[in-house]
């Protein structure tokens, strides 16, 4: 293995310039590597992890399961990536999910056609985005405070919606909504198709119009963006609308799965996983860049890790700490500073030990340091 490493690593030290130019490429390398590593360990821990069978007319297997479970978080994280790109943050996404769930149960009990219920739910998400956007973009409240308002009040709003027709945690039946969430089209789970379609739609919205560029410009330097004629208020507003809509969409999937409106715990702490996914995907909380694809990778890392912890036989009491440690490792792996520090130590060790393979190659130690983990 050490031979392989040396061969693979050899081109890296060539110049610093190539490394800088390939920064975009590098950004993708580390999260992908982390995902591959976690999946590989999964494969070692549980034999048959990578096998995909057809059961009851649909794909079945651990990897499919990871995608399936990751989809709602991925939707939320995509919206979060947009908001973070605008130099904001949206803490209210979990609460938006709760509101959407309550809205669905309410409208189904009210007897609306279920397609209309879907529109109600998405509309509720959009309305939440409208509220957040108004606080941040129009009133100029700091995003973390502004979205905290809805984060705190949203679950209460969900409970109040339940009160409209006098239920506590009212359940419902909706073949249509359930088919969106837990059904399958051909061999493929419907929600994966919907997730892919939503991703494509969001990508088109950001990258095939100038909206993505405008959001990134506002997130990078709002004053400069304003002087370049980009109305930074409207652009910021749009980011919260997108986040509200994607959270609403995740709310539909999650609520249709459990078919119950449970505002207290539905989507609890999902905002934290979403923020984590964006950051693991290489997004900076300082704003200025949106990485949609990498955000999905970040979500998959979190989900694959959750699966690994469950199947590895680590006592459940250790779960959260193990998760935190692995996440920290992934983040360190991504950090140029941390890798540089690792390189220096490796190099120092190499020069002391003398014969350590590749230890003397300048700049080549960092990928190795990562891979050795």
């Amino acid at each position: 293995m050490s031979v392989n490493q040396t061969i693979e690593v050899a081109p890296a030290p060539r110049t610093l310039g190539t490394r800088l130019r390939g920064l975009a490429g590098h950004r993708a390398v580390w999260p992908l590597l982390a995902l591959a590593l976690i999946l590989a360990v999964n494969g070692l821990v549980s034999p048959g992890f990578f096998s995909i069978r057809v059961v009851e007319g649909r794909f079945f297997g651990s990897t499919i399961d990871i995608l399936y479970r990751a989809m709602p978080t991925a939707m939320v994280a995509l919206g979060m990536a947009v908001v973070i790109g605008s130099k904001g943050i949206d803490l209210s996404v979990g609460a938006i999910i709760a509101i959407c769930g309550a809205t669905i149960a309410w409208r189904i009990h009210a007897g609306d056609p279920h397609v209309v219920v879907l529109l109600w739910a998405l509309g509720a998400g959009l309305l939440c985005g409208l509220w957040n956007g108004a606080l941040v973009a129009l009133l100029g409240i700091q995003p973390i405070v502004a979205t905290l308002v809805l984060m705190v009040s949203g679950r209460g709003i969900g409970l109040m919606i339940n009160l409209i027709y006098g239920g506590t945690n009212p359940s419902f039946e909706s073949p249509f909504l359930q088919s969106l969430s837990v059904g399958h089209v051909g061999l493929i789970p419907t929600r994966l198709l919907l997730g892919a379609a939503s991703f494509a739609a969001l990508w088109l919205l950001l990258r095939r119009t100038a909206l993505g560029l405008f959001i990134e410009a506002v997130g990078g330097n709002a004053r400069a963006a304003d002087l370049a004629g980009i109305g930074s208020r409207l652009v910021t507003y749009s980011a919260y609308l997108i986040s509200g809509l994607t959270a609403g969409w995740a709310g539909v999937i999650l609520t249709a799965d459990t078919h119950i409106s449970d505002p207290v715990s539905q989507g609890l702490y999902i905002e934290l996983d979403a923020i984590l996914a964006v950051v693991i995907g290489g997004g900076s909380l300082a704003g200025g860049r949106i990485h949609l694809g990498m955000t999905v990778i970040g979500t998959l890392i979190i989900q694959a890790l959750a699966t690994l912890i469950l199947t590895s036989g680590v006592p459940p009491e250790y779960n959260l700490v193990v998760k935190a440690v692995v996440v920290l490792a992934v983040l360190l792996l991504q950090s140029d500073d941390a890798r540089a520090a690792l390189t220096r130590r490796n190099r120092a060790r190499g020069s002391l030990g003398g014969g350590s393979p590749g230890g003397g190659s300048p700049g080549g130690g960092s990928p190795k340091g990562g891979r050795r983990r």
Binding site: A210, L213, A228, R289
Partner: protein, 500 residues
């Protein structure tokens, strides 16, 4: 007079560069005890870098600092304080909700058995304020006092018992005339006690009132240092505005061109506490210079014309039709483009690529629903890189990695890419090297010849003389004169600035 005494602080051959761009180039600076030494220069001249080196906030790349004849290495602001060098920065770094006593002693509270002794803190605060002849209730919240008192509290906080040097960065910026008098009285007291004071200000009359000696920085170099009494105001202005373009050819034809049709006209345009109402007409193929000292209203005029700041009186007309209320977006859509003075804070999005930065204004003009096709984006970026000679390995490089001169060209490229009829340039050559400087001046002249209406605000007098067909001269936020053609010389402009 005071120069007979040995100097308190000597800076010898100080150089400092940021990312390869020199901010200070072999600067010498000497400060005597009992002297108020004014440090002058335009934005970016290197004043604050020099101060930061003196007070330990920055380390010099080269040069030596001596304190009372002894070489010292000031590694941090704390070390500087221990050496008796106290600084009050431009923004008052105090907490308005805390009491005066707490503000004065913040971070250095007197302790008793490891706990803060509030009684001792109050005593300490009173003693320090007394040194500035300021007797106020130290238990009241700082925010409840006028700004002048807050400024004095900041000075009291900065002054240790053994302070020997006091650095004041624009201390009078937010003070009115009476408050300034109070501050100056205290400065004279301190001076009499042997304090050496560095005084940074852009108010020339205040400099003449309080300072014993004046040093002028320009583009990172010390261009002059003289006793205040021996430096007439006109000479000082000449020093400050400099002669950077000596090697660049002067304007070919001094005779006024046949000016084109008026494009953009300001009628009694003004904004309270920003700029006095003014009239200004921009014509196609004509370059108008805005000359004046720092704080005279150059940037303010430029921003009002572009619409970055809304006017509260008068109006702007484009081709004779009123422009309505101004905004950058509206201005761009109507063919008015702007390159701001501070390219890092207001010009560029540093994380975005050269291509994306160049694209921004044109894309705004088209609206977000009509994105410029990727191929056209690339063509545009490459054409601009070629036309302006932007030194970058490729168009996808984050613009933050470019040198200052090339960043400036990207700002210019963005404005030009939006195909403007009117171009407003604020300090188009700030902080860039001489080569790039000449290129940009040549480019501005070419654009003008191609029929663009230009407005160029600059602190470099020779730049103004080189590019302008007409010059509006500003003093104290007012246009005090307009000259054209053969009248445009350094001398006439300085005369107008000095109020002659």
């Amino acid at each position: 007079m005071t120069s007979d005494q040995p100097p308190r602080v000597e800076l010898v051959g100080i150089s400092k560069a940021f990312a390869g761009v020199p901010a200070l180039d072999r600067v010498d600076f000497t400060l005597h005890p009992g002297e108020v030494h004014a440090l002058l220069g335009e934005n970016g001249a290197g004043k604050s870098t020099l101060i930061k080196i003196m007070t330990g906030a920055l380390a010099a790349d080269a040069g030596e600092m001596r304190l009372d004849g002894r070489a010292v290495a000031v590694g941090s602001t704390a070390e500087a304080r221990a050496l008796g060098i106290s600084t009050v920065y431009q923004e008052v770094n105090l907490v308005p909700t805390l009491s005066v006593a707490r503000n004065v002693t913040l971070g250095r509270e007197p302790r008793r058995f490891g706990l803060i002794s509030w009684r001792a803190a109050r005593e300490k605060a009173r003693a320090r304020l007394k040194r500035l002849s300021l007797e106020i209730d130290v238990e009241r919240a700082l925010g409840s006092f006028p700004v002048a008192v807050q400024q004095l509290v900041a000075i009291a906080r900065a002054l240790e018992e053994d302070s020997r040097v006091l650095v004041l960065d624009e201390p009078t910026a937010s003070l009115d005339a009476q408050e300034t008098r109070l501050l100056f009285r205290i400065l004279r007291d301190l001076k009499a006690q042997g304090m050496a004071v560095v005084f940074i200000s852009h108010f020339l009359d205040q400099v003449y009132e309080i300072s014993d000696r004046i040093s002028v920085l320009r583009n990172g170099r010390l261009v002059g240092s003289a006793a205040t009494a021996a430096l007439p105001q006109r000479e000082l202005i000449t020093l400050m505005l400099g002669r950077e373009l000596e090697r660049v050819e002067q304007r070919a034809a001094a005779a006024p061109k046949a000016a084109g049709a008026p494009v953009l006209a300001a009628e009694k345009l003004g904004r309270r506490r920003w700029i006095e109402p003014f009239d200004l007409v921009l014509r196609a193929g004509e370059a108008i210079g805005l000359a004046g000292l720092l704080g005279s209203g150059r940037t303010e005029t430029a921003k009002l014309i572009f619409g970055a700041v809304r006017a509260d009186s008068g109006r702007l007309t484009l081709d004779g039709a009123p422009l309505g209320h101004a905004s950058p977006r509206r201005a761009l859509r109507r063919g008015i483009a702007f390159c701001p003075e501070d390219r890092k804070a207001e010009g560029l999005v540093l994380d975005l690529s050269v291509r994306e930065n160049i694209l921004l204004a044109l894309q705004t003009k088209r609206g977000w629903l009509r994105p410029l096709p990727r191929d056209e984006q690339r063509r545009l970026a490459e054409a601009m890189i070629e036309a302006l000679g932007i030194a970058t390995s490729d168009a996808e490089k984050p613009v933050g990695q470019l040198s200052g001169g090339n960043q400036q060209k990207v700002v210019l490229a963005r404005a030009l890419a939006s195909k403007p009829r009117v171009l407003v340039l604020d300090e188009p050559t700030r902080g860039i090297d001489v080569g790039a400087h000449a290129e940009i001046v040549a480019l501005v002249r070419r654009l003008c010849a191609e029929g663009l209406a230009l407005l160029v605000a600059s602190s470099e007098l020779d730049e103004i003389v080189a590019v302008s067909d007409r010059v509006a001269v500003l003093r104290d936020r007012r246009i005090v004169g307009e000259i054209a053609g053969a009248e445009i010389t350094r001398e006439t402009i300085i005369e107008l600035i000095a109020g002659g």
